[in-house]
């Protein structure tokens, strides 16, 4: 029996532009389970990224509550949310967003040392993670501009994992990568999920979606589909692919 790690109650998000109100998320009640690789899908403008960043404490909901391991984070102020994020969340962005003026290793340490003062332990963990995602030592001292897209995104994943977050939030992690780089990044994400890491990913990409075990489909701010895809196995991917396609067809994808 899996534990609920994240739960929303009547989550709403409304944007106001030039006096016009746009309700992006509408009364969402979602529960995310520990150890799941949850995929959020939906057409453009459906509110996927808005939901992801509301769930992660990056943005505040307009109404409703978000409970992370029982703690209501929707009432936290900006600084409390920052502390919440550093202790509980890891982020992987479509645009990667590594710090340009820092080396690969320093990018990981800049997050890691926020939580732990033990430089040696954090550095050792960062190096282990870097090696684990396939970034060899020669790349650790390089700057983001000197890396390929795939290498940079894997460095981004290391940064997301450095504080052993309870949940990794990924927004189109392969959106800016070519096919080969995408596969390497997805392999890393699948691997860390297998090791028990909870992940929530927003994507348009079927290949990425196939890595998840649960698919949530969002349309006009409402979850209109929830598919249990089962754990990813490279060998049984065809059946999962068909199941996903059927689900997406049903959702009007």
């Amino acid at each position: 029996m899996q534990d609920t790690i994240l739960r929303t109650e009547k989550l709403c998000k409304t944007f106001s532009t030039g006096g016009i109100q746009q309700h992006v998320l509408k009364n969402l009640d979602i529960s995310l389970m520990e150890g799941d690789f949850t995929i959020i899908m939906g057409s453009s403008g459906s509110g996927k990224s808005t939901l992801l960043y509301a769930l992660s404490g990056m943005d505040k909901p307009s109404l409703g509550e978000i409970h992370f391991e029982g703690e209501n984070i929707s009432k936290l102020n900006n600084d409390q949310l920052a502390i919440f994020r550093r202790n509980n969340c890891g982020f992987v962005f479509q645009q990667i967003h590594l710090l340009d003026n820092m080396s690969v290793l320093d990018n990981a340490l800049a997050s890691g040392l926020l939580v732990s003062k033990n430089k040696q332990a954090v550095a050792a963990k960062a190096k282990q993670l870097l090696a684990q995602v396939g970034l060899n030592e020669t790349l650790w001292g390089k700057f983001p501009s000197q890396l390929s897209g795939g290498e940079a995104q894997r460095a981004g994943i290391v940064r997301a994992l450095i504080n052993s977050p309870k949940m990794v939030f990924a927004d189109e992690p392969t959106g800016a990568l070519n096919s080969a780089s995408s596969d390497s990044v997805l392999d890393v994400m699948t691997e860390v999920n297998r090791n028990g890491q909870s992940i929530v990913t927003v994507t348009h990409d079927i290949t990425t979606a196939l890595r998840g075990n649960r698919i949530l489909y969002l349309r006009d701010g409402i979850i209109c589909g929830d598919l249990d895809l089962g754990a990813f196995h490279a060998d049984h991917n065809l059946a999962r692919h068909e199941k996903l396609n059927a689900f997406l067809s049903e959702m009007g994808w």
Binding site: Y53, R85, N87, H97, A110, S111, L114, V122, F143, S145
Partner: protein, 790 residues
């Protein structure tokens, strides 16, 4: 058609420039304020300096005042004296006038009594030279009371209707102040003579009461060219050896150049400090402009690419950037020049109180134009040079974000190895990544710290601990000064005073006017220089024997002499060679000063006695002592002065001038620090918006990021403050020596009060930190979510 296209092109450039200005309003405002302050100070400084160069000459002309005046008892006056002036080369007009001459009358100066040589003239008498011209007159008491110099109003606070009392030979003569007039030579106590006018009836009454002993003669001369007036008194002295102060104590002579140098000096110093400070701010503004242009090119690289792609030429884009800064510079400098008219009266008040003459705030179009031109031209040059690289950018390179502005070849301070907390190390990384920007901030901090230290040292030494100030001026600081009644035995009185209870020491310190190589030299003499509190000799030693002399450094340079050389000193017909044993300085004597022993003076004026006794007290109440001296030796004493009080009131005008300078410099320092940090941090935050968003997303709080930014300035600011503080401590005296060299001051040993400077430096660092924290609060507006949505 063609001209229409050209005009259209120009309009597009202007529109681009205006659009750029509109997008960065707060940065534009900060730059505007910086350039405005620079233009304001520059305009005030240059206006004061240019006006001061002709101020006295213009004043003499306006008042039809004398370039040279000589006063003596009528009994000592001889016709050849007047004839000499009349026939002197360059003299175009002379006049001889009868007056009442009081060798030492006591008048109230602020809270103390001040003894001074006084001339009382008949207000209703006909005269062509220096006709009575009142600048303020009582409407009700017209034609009555006394007319007093304007200097007594601005320096000592006398107002129309006030009671004015002259004490002469223990008798008080009281009048009501009914008007103020200006006088270049006899309007302040600086030249040891004050002139007053009494209406005919009062004049005659006083003249009758005082008798013929108080009859004096005033000889005045106006020159065609004021430059020629400088040698008249010296030539007069040579021509009439019996008519000088040493032989005739009632004799007094002064010329315009002496008056000018005694008053204009401090005004010029203040003006020079303002100009120097303005130059510093102009430099800062230019540095900020350069920084801002580089930033806006980096930031707007893609826009530049788009503009180039759609057909704008490099020149058009370049011109729009330059134009943007030119518009700011012209607007700010014109406003600065205009506002200087509003600020000038305040400076005019200080100048009036120093010179005792009315400073009029006339239009100064020439200097206005020069200030505006200087500032805008400098901005133009810097803007042109800083944006030159636009020409080298191809549209494609610009659209791709241009050339990388940062070089990341070395990862400085790797986080796993660097010592110190995360915040500090990240701050240091930021600092190292922005070395050029930090160099700019460091240089600015060095400059403003230097200026602040300079002003604080100046203020401390003039307002708090005046020891070094008096030493610099060569002014002796006894507690009580006694002027012995002419004809009485001063040496006997000295001996008796030395025996009195509470007298620590007493000596004679008086002066005579001598001539050395054709120069009139203010020569003091003492029975014992060892008793002086302020040793003004900065090289060599005081004279000990009758054939020794000390001269001012300025005079030594003028004569081409040095310690060990012999010079011939003359008084009237007598002269004697003296060996130079030391160099000193004296603000009062100016460039031409010397010191002799009492025995040395006797070579020139046999049996001459010093009539001024300086008394230094210890463990006795000063008022009691003065009362006892008056009671016991009153018949031998002409006046007793509370020197402490006189010095206090005498230096008040300097204190207020220096205080004003200090306040201006410190206020501008604070403003400049705030503005520059505002500009730099704002640009830094904009530039690092994405990075700050990432850091926020990964869990950094706003306060942590604010601290990081504030801390990133701290090392360079501390370094700048240390360098500026050390330079200020080491070179303030040298700068002062340079500023005061024209006044004959060669050696300044102002006390560098280290705790005060350390406090100032700490205050600057704290100010920078607090301002940085405050300005970087705008990080709060950057959200992690904005990273994705923007």
């Amino acid at each position: 058609m063609r001209s229409c296209l050209k005009w259209d092109g120009k309009m597009r450039i202007i529109n681009l420039a205006i659009a750029n200005i509109k997008t960065g309003k707060s940065a534009v405002f900060s730059l505007f304020v910086l350039i405005f302050i620079a233009a304001l100070l520059l305009n005030i400084g240059t206006t004061v300096m240019s006006k001061m160069s002709t101020f006295y000459e213009d004043k003499v002309e306006e008042l039809h005042d004398a370039h040279v005046s000589i006063v003596m008892k009528s009994a000592n006056y001889k016709q050849p004296y007047g004839d000499f002036l009349k026939s002197y080369s360059g003299v175009k007009e002379t006049e001889t006038e009868q007056m009442i001459l009081l060798p030492t009358a006591t008048i109230r100066f602020d809270k103390s009594d001040f003894s001074i040589r006084t001339a009382l003239l008949n207000a209703d008498a006909e005269r062509t030279v220096a006709p009575l011209k009142l600048i303020e007159e009582s409407a009700s008491d017209k034609g009555e009371g006394i007319y007093i110099p304007y200097g007594l109003k601005v320096r000592n606070g006398y107002q129309l209707g006030d009671n004015f009392t002259l004490t002469y030979q223990n008798k008080k003569y009281s009048y009501r102040v009914t008007g103020f007039f200006e006088s270049t030579l006899m309007g302040t106590s600086k030249l040891a003579m004050l002139k007053f006018y009494l209406p005919d009836a009062a004049y005659r009454q006083l003249s009758e009461e005082l008798g013929p002993a108080a009859d004096g003669t005033l000889i005045s001369a106006i020159f065609t060219d004021s430059e020629q007036s400088g040698a008249l008194l010296s030539d007069y002295n040579n021509q009439f050896p019996q008519s000088n102060e040493a032989v005739d104590p009632s004799f007094w002579g002064a010329d315009m150049q002496t008056a000018e140098s005694s008053s204009a000096l401090i005004v010029n110093i203040v003006a020079m400090i303002l100009v120097a400070f303005a130059a510093m701010i102009v430099l800062m503004s230019l540095t900020v402009i350069k920084f801002r242009i580089s930033y806006s090119i980096d930031d707007g690289m893609v826009n530049i690419g788009v503009l180039k792609a759609v057909g704008y030429t490099s020149l058009q884009i370049h011109t729009s950037i330059v134009l943007q800064f030119m518009l700011i510079a012209v607007a700010a400098s014109v406003t600065g020049a205009a506002v200087s008219y509003a600020v000038m009266p305040a400076f005019g008040g200080v100048i009036s109180s120093l010179a005792g003459l009315l400073w009029t705030g006339d239009a100064h179009m020439g200097t206005d134009l020069a200030s505006v031109l200087i500032v805008t031209l400098l901005v133009l040059v810097v803007a042109l040079l800083s944006s030159m690289r636009i020409h080298k950018l191809s549209p494609v390179a610009a659209l791709r974000g241009g050339i990388m502005t940062h070089n990341f070849r070395r990862n400085l301070l790797p986080l796993d190895k660097a010592k110190g907390g995360l915040q500090f190390v990240l701050a240091c990384k930021t600092m190292l990544a922005n070395s050029r920007q930090n160099l700019m901030i460091g240089s600015i901090i060095v400059a403003i710290t230097f200026a602040s230290v300079f002003s604080v040292v100046l203020y401390y030494n003039i307002a708090e601990d005046k020891t070094a100030f008096f030493q610099m001026l060569g002014a002796e600081t006894p507690n009580v000064g006694i002027q012995v009644e002419p004809g009485k035995d001063s040496e006997q009185l000295l001996m008796q005073i030395q025996q009195m209870t509470g007298v620590e020491k007493a000596n004679i310190l008086d002066y005579i006017t001598t001539t050395i190589d054709g120069q009139l030299v203010n020569t003091d003499f003492s029975d014992d220089y060892g008793k002086l509190e302020n040793k003004s000799v900065y090289e060599g030693r005081y004279p000990q024997y009758d054939n020794e002399i000390v001269v001012t450094g300025g005079l030594a340079r003028l004569l081409g002499k040095n310690i060990g050389d012999t010079i011939k000193v003359g008084v009237g017909g007598a002269s004697h060679p003296f060996l130079i044993t030391g160099l000193n300085q004296s603000f009062n004597a100016g460039r031409n000063g010397a010191s002799l022993t009492m025995a040395g003076v006797h070579h020139l004026i046999p049996d001459h006695k010093g009539m001024s006794i300086n008394v230094y007290l210890e463990g006795v109440n000063k008022s009691d002592f003065i009362r006892d001296v008056e009671a016991e030796y009153g018949s031998m004493i002409q006046t007793i002065t509370d020197v402490d009080e006189s010095l206090e009131s005498g230096t008040r005008v300097y204190i207020s001038a220096v205080f004003a300078v200090m306040v201006v410099i410190l206020a501008i320092t604070v403003l400049v620090v705030v503005l520059i940090l505002y500009l730099v941090i704002k640009m830094t935050i904009l530039k690092r918006k994405r990075e700050l968003g990432i850091l926020k997303a990964t869990g950094y709080t706003t306060f942590q990021l604010m601290t990081q930014i504030a801390l990133s300035f701290v090392p360079i600011v501390i370094a700048g403050v240390i360098v500026g503080g050390v330079l200020g401590s080491l070179y303030t005296n040298s700068v002062l020596e340079l500023l005061l060299s024209d006044a004959g001051i060669s050696n300044v040993q102002f006390i560098i009060h280290v705790p005060l400077i350390v406090t100032l430096c700490i205050a600057i660092v704290v100010l920078v930190y607090l301002v940085s924290m405050l300005v970087s609060r705008r990080i709060k507006r950057i959200t992690a979510y904005g990273l994705i949505t923007e």
